[in-house]
Amino acid sequence: MTRMTRKTMRSAAALLAITLAFAGCGDDDTVVSAPEAVTDGSTSTSSTPEPMFPVTVTADNGEVTIPTEPTAIVSLSPSITEMLYAVGAGDQVGAVDASSDFPADAPVTELSGFRPNVEAIGALAPDLVFLARDRDDVVATLEGVGITVVLLEAPESLEDVYRQIETVAAATGHLDAGAEVAAEVESGIAALLSDVPERDEPLTYFYELTDEYNTLTSQTFIGAVLALAGLDNIADGVDPGAGSYPQLTAEYVLDTNPDVVFVAHADGSAPSADELSARPGWAELTAIVDGRVVALDPDIASRWGPRIVDLFDDVVRATAGIG
């Protein structure tokens, strides 16, 4: 537990240092190779019709070359949809999956990102498809029929998110805007990190996904983000066989007596503090007694788009005052 915490603190400090040093610089190491674009030193966010294409980006399905500016993009990930609109590629998006409800004007379709339907995707004649998971070799199948695919899997860290934003931007011809958005998110997180107080004992939290005590560990992206805020997850290491989304027992939650309870039910329901304290034994929990039940937007909390800053803001504001 303490080893974990020290490691967390160290990485938080390191991230802060790096962020301050490079703030606004948007360092894109080897993510993008677009020689024409590098010479363009302006920081304008407008998408200039520079000869950015063909461009080659590095994604989770390897090096992907996009021959021309995509104008019929299909995004099957709400996180990537948010990135596309944030970097200014919204006009090029032809269709997004059923879960992509942000921004509101995204062209939502019935397409599923969980069980992608290759035929239905192909019928839209997309020139670029973004995916966040490669279930059942769907990437190979799409590529096999000649569709360009960029796979960006769930990130493990904020650095991954910045890289993904820049990759999305490069693939759609918005290199500069991508660097800017990534830098904005980065500095937003850095500013919030400076509000996290030093604590002798890290706060512990329980992250509730369902009424049945389904939770997540620090191995998930959102868990890693919460660790940055100096919070210890009570589910860490409890059941190594159960993966990153274990189910805890009611007794365990009561016994560990977390300082904070985050509620982000996947089905959108949000039990109130009253409802929580009505559960057997919960009225005595520190988090309930001290009123530290924090409802998080389950949509934002399950995504890794630019709005992660808003989520982090909620978390830090809700916990910063706690000594």
């Binding site: 035929e119 004649a125 070799d137 029929v145």
Partner: protein, 347 residues
């Protein structure tokens, strides 16, 4: 229906069935998010053959979707339909039990456990690639049936009843193990259930290639065994007096049926009802001889599952309805209407 039943399938039935199976394939290949006429669908497919170039007017991506995504899916569904229907009919003959289906001896539970082991943390060292999962399903199904056979076939037994009971016990045990693994690994539940509910949606030529050889060998064995299965219908002792060793016949039929079923399940997930409804529907029309039922099950299982899959992928497109739901919802009323119209009682 006359009470006297000839034993060979009438030519008229064979021809009609084959034409029906062919028509189902052509219609299925032409219907989907990218709609083409059956004629164009044929042109696209023929154009794909080596050494042939046909103008079909479709852009390469759309043509590729038809030949690389839809066609293998349609063929795989047809093949799996043949396998499950024939295996089901053969099981009903072997166990003289009209409720027997290809999963009677634990093949489904074994495959389910195999897949769960491969997809959950328990089998992470196996890797979770598609090949590993397919292999795990196949091995799981084979091991489960072997286990049932080892536990259930006693020298004194005469009817196969103890095999069925052993199958129930083995299936219950394996399902319990599967539930334990699933409950401990929430993340995999979605993957496992997607697999269990049928996975034609991810079928490709690889799956077809995997299934064809096993299906060919097994189905040949089963159809060739149909005359002996007719004798077995008289009872183990009567069959024995006519020169049929019931125990050995049962072992051969169960081995062939299990091999094909395990291969089908490995590439397509668990699809119920086909193995019961098709042989029974045929039995109601052509009588109880397995020399008629098995060949016709082989032919008619194909269009049944092919068209069921067509409904599964088009009714709620782009979402899919689990194929097992379609086979039950379409198959049950169809089967019941056959039962009501027919004077013939199932064996």
């Amino acid at each position: 229906m006359p009470r006297r039943h000839p034993t060979r399938p009438p030519l008229r039935w064979l021809v009609l069935s084959l034409v029906g199976a062919g028509a189902a394939v052509v219609v299925s290949v032409s219907v989907g998010p990218i709609g083409v006429s059956p004629f164009d669908a044929l042109r696209v497919v023929v154009d794909r053959l080596p050494g042939v170039a046909l103008d079909h007017g479709l852009d390469p991506t759309r043509a590729a979707i038809i030949t690389e995504v839809r066609l293998p899916r349609v063929l795989l569904a047809s093949l799996v339909g043949s396998v499950l229907a024939t295996a089901g009919g053969a099981y009903q003959a072997t166990f003289r039990n009209s409720l027997a289906d290809p999963f009677l001896l634990g093949a489904a539970a074994g495959a389910g456990l195999g897949v769960t082991v491969a997809l959950t943390g328990a089998g992470s060292e196996l890797g979770d690639s598609g090949t590993a999962v397919t292999a795990a399903a196949f091995v799981g199904a084979m091991v489960a049936v072997a286990l049932t056979y080892g536990l259930g076939s006693s020298a004194s037994e005469r009817t196969g009843a103890s095999l069925i009971l052993a199958g129930v016990a083995v299936a219950a045990l394996l399902s319990a193990l599967q539930n334990l693994l699933l409950q401990r690994d929430d993340e995999s539940i979605r993957d496992v259930y997607a697999w269990l509910l049928g996975r034609f949606n991810v079928a490709g030529w690889d799956e077809v290639r995997l299934l064809v050889p096993t299906a060919f060998v097994s189905l040949t064995v089963l159809v060739l065994a149909s005359r002996r299965l007719d004798l077995l219908a008289l009872g183990d002792d009567e069959a024995h007096s006519l020169g049929v060793d019931a125990g050995r016949l049962r072992l051969a039929v169960v081995s062939a049926a299990t091999l094909a079923t395990a291969a089908a399940v490995a590439v397509s997930g668990l699809i119920g009802f086909v193995g019961i409804v098709i042989p029974h529907a045929i039995r109601l029309r052509v009588g109880p001889s397995y020399r008629r039922i098995l060949p016709l099950s082989l032919i008619l299982g194909a269009p049944f599952l092919c068209l069921a899959d067509l409904l599964a992928r088009t009714l709620l497109s782009p979402a899919e309805i689990p194929i097992g739901v379609i086979t039950a919802v379409v198959g049950a009323p169809f089967f019941l209407s056959l039962l009501r119209r027919s004077r013939v009682r199932p064996t």
